[in-house]
């Protein structure tokens, strides 16, 4: 059943013992939007994305992904077939080459071999990995692993893409390549949900943002409306907390004496 939202959650909560890592989060992600999910370290971004992708079970609350209600007692294979995920740990097998890994993922989505090969060539070429076909992924740099994981997520041509920190630890060239691919992906009407610390990239790419802190969603909506005349950074600092207020002087760092 189609709704207005590609992702929708009601009071989504995840507790670890006494700690509520995600606390009553009500997400609304529009179809075809580029949604940036922001928050400081330990705010609950990765926990939220894990719940949305079925990697972690919520303590309470409900979710709808691509219009389908997510039931925890089922394996949700139908939803998984329509989404692509770049998980936090990237999910790669160390002892496979890039092509082998893409073949594996493609076959898991039950794609025809010819299609897998064609798309793999295209993706590896666009992401600059075509010359690394003999290398095992354990020999890849962190950035190359990120690109391969993104290629695997894009391979089945999903309707919705979840990316957990796709720009963390990647160089400027790789970052540009990823941004271009994602922009094209959204332009054709698909939805991207990404978490990131890099505010500049989110500001440049995203149409919508959500800000989470201490497990609570404290801001959500179209980026232009939220930041109004200011920048995303000022909005983020204003909502999450200003460093100036909590700053502690390290006086000895100002002295040259040892």
């Amino acid at each position: 059943m189609e709704t207005d939202w590609a992702i929708e959650s009601e009071n989504l909560t995840r507790a670890f013992g006494d700690v509520r890592a995600v606390d009553d989060v009500n997400l609304r992600v529009r179809w075809g939007s580029f949604y940036g999910f922001l928050g400081p370290n330990g705010a609950g971004k990765s926990t939220t994305i894990k719940m949305l992708t079925g990697l972690l079970e919520p303590t309470s609350g409900s979710m709808r992904i691509l219009g389908e209600s997510v039931r925890q007692d089922q394996e949700q294979l139908a939803i998984k077939k329509r989404i692509g995920v770049v998980p936090e740990n990237l999910g790669l097998f160390d002892n496979l080459t890039a092509r082998e890994y893409l073949t594996f993922v493609g076959r898991m989505y039950l794609m025809p071999v010819d299609t897998i090969q064609q798309r793999s060539e295209d993706l590896l070429s666009v992401l600059g990995l075509q010359d690394e076909h003999k290398k095992l992924t354990l020999e890849y740099s962190h950035g190359m692993k990120k690109k391969l994981s993104l290629a695997a997520a894009l391979l089945p041509n999903p309707d919705l893409l979840f990316l957990d920190e796709p720009f963390e630890g990647v160089d400027a060239v790789t970052s540009r390549a990823i941004r271009d691919i994602l922009s094209d992906f959204v332009a054709r009407g698909s939805t991207v949900f990404l978490t990131s610390h890099v505010l500049e990239i989110v500001e440049r790419l995203c149409t919508d943002v959500g800000i989470i802190a201490h497990g609570k969603l404290i801001e959500q909506g179209p980026l232009d409306e939220l930041k109004q005349d200011g920048s995303l950074e000022s909005l983020f600092l204003q909502r999450v907390g200003n460093h100036e207020e909590t700053r502690v002087e390290v006086s000895w760092l100002k002295d040259r004496a040892v």
């Binding site: 006494d18 294979l77 097998f93 594996f104 076959r107 898991m108 989505y109």
Partner: protein, 624 residues
Amino acid sequence: MNLEQLKVLVWVRWRIAINQLVHGGSVGAVLSSVLGVIVIALSISSLVLAFGLGLFLLAKVPASTLIVVWDVIMAAFLFFWIIGLVTELQRSETVSFEKLMHLPISLRSAFFLNYLCSWFNLSMVAFLPAMLGLALAQIVTHGMGMFVVLPLLASQLAMITAITYQLRGWIAALMENPRKRRTVIVTMGMIIMFLSQAPQLFNVYVMRKSRQSRQTSQQQLQQELERYERDMSDLRQELQEGQIEPAEFNRRAAEIEPPVPSPATTKPPSLDEQTIALLHAALPPGWLGLGVKTLAQHRYWPAMVTTFLAAGVAAVSLRRGYRSTIRYYRLGHMHTVRSGAKHSAPDPQVTNKHDASSFRKIHVPGIPDVVLDFTRIHLRHLLRAPEIRMALLVPPMVVGLSLIPAMFSTHDELSKMPVIYRPLLLMGAGVFSVLSILQLLMNQFGFDRDGFRTYMLVPLSRRNLLLAKNLSCLPIGFGISLVMVSVAQFMTRASVDGYLGTIVQCGSGFLVCCMFGNFISVLSPMPAATRTMRRSRVKLVNVLLHVVFAMTLPFVQIPIAVPYVVYWLWHFYGGTRWVPVYTLSSLVLLAALGAVYLWVLPMQGRLLLRRQGAVLRVVAASQD
């Protein structure tokens, strides 16, 4: 699961194995190929051998022998299977759930496939053909009724593998926390060591009981014999003195019973059949032996019942294993913060006070404070690493589990040993204890891994760096030695001079090991895989160097024997025993070795300075 997906999962496992082989280097590929051929040969030969054994040797043996044969096979299989389990735990799962959960795949089927793949290991390759061969031979020799042994064997293996797979999942979940991971590995290693030593301990216990029983019986027999001789002598005397007639003598002589050796001296105690059957029924690994025995006696029900029971246990274990795996991944149980735990920031003043008090406590003349601080930090690092704890615990455990029972069993012989030779036993315990930290001393930088960068950057002379590293091992090595020598002293009752002298000797042994270990640590560092003491990516030259060094070590340790020779000569030529010759000569040797150590250390420091870049390249590379 879709059949296509199943095929892809099998394919990906195969690709991973092939890639590991091909990308492991030419030597690795050759070694793996050779190993593969050996494994196949082992598998085929164990099948043929077991079949032949069953056909020709076990065809006519009684059912009570068959149960022993199957028990031995099952015990050996279990032992190797558990060792394989621990080894496997140190690696990550080839196709872990974490890498599949975001894909459109049925996790139930993936779990089952992973379980099936857990069957493919060396223990199974070696034992399954042997068990199969033996079972087939018994079908041939005992008739088709024995056919039930095949499902019985299958269910038994399914039960063991399912239980261990469930256990593996549980332990793997525990090991998610890196600190717990190392502790789990250490604990598992210790459990295996104790299990492997259990027969030895049991044997020592039984032998001791048997010897005691034999001695008691012999004493009783002797008393009986003396009583018999005395009575007969009295009777003969009465006959000679004419107090009794020959007829009376014969009658009374017949009444006096000659002593008969008690059964305890002629036959070892044994369990009756009913107890054996009960024990086998109570212990699931014994079900296979019990089933085979009853099948050989043409009783089918026990075998069929144990088959169904084992299959049931396997099914329940798999179900529980699946549920706990899913719970672990999807409920994130291992990330759970303990309920009621307080989250408060540490009081910086308290922390600083604690740190400040723990430092600057001890001042040792001649050793700079910075070296002592470094020593304390390194010692803490050593003591907190469970893999190092395990490596340090193994030798005392080996000594404790094998030497001490042996000493107990030969206590009488030890008490008869001349006092002059007893320090040799103490020295053996001491030398063994010092050698226990040799693995650490011979690869001092390997276990620093990336931390070696810090050592390179600290403004500490390389001489002092080596000194601090050696000193940090001293409390460990000396502590183990002190305990072991004291235990040996308790057992052997050596002289006070022998005891004190041996303790000093341990210091000398430690110094020699330090000098030796410093050289090899600098010249031939070995990379150690993270979280283990296992060496990884080792070059052949380094291995050869370590072998040469290890072979040289006994010769280097020869000076340690000098104080004992002095002690022996002193006593041999009738010197008074009130002079502590052994302790004094040991102290002289220690002082001499200390001087040599202080002379060698700056040289070793300069060598480290020259080679520290090379050492860093070896030890600090990524090991995962």
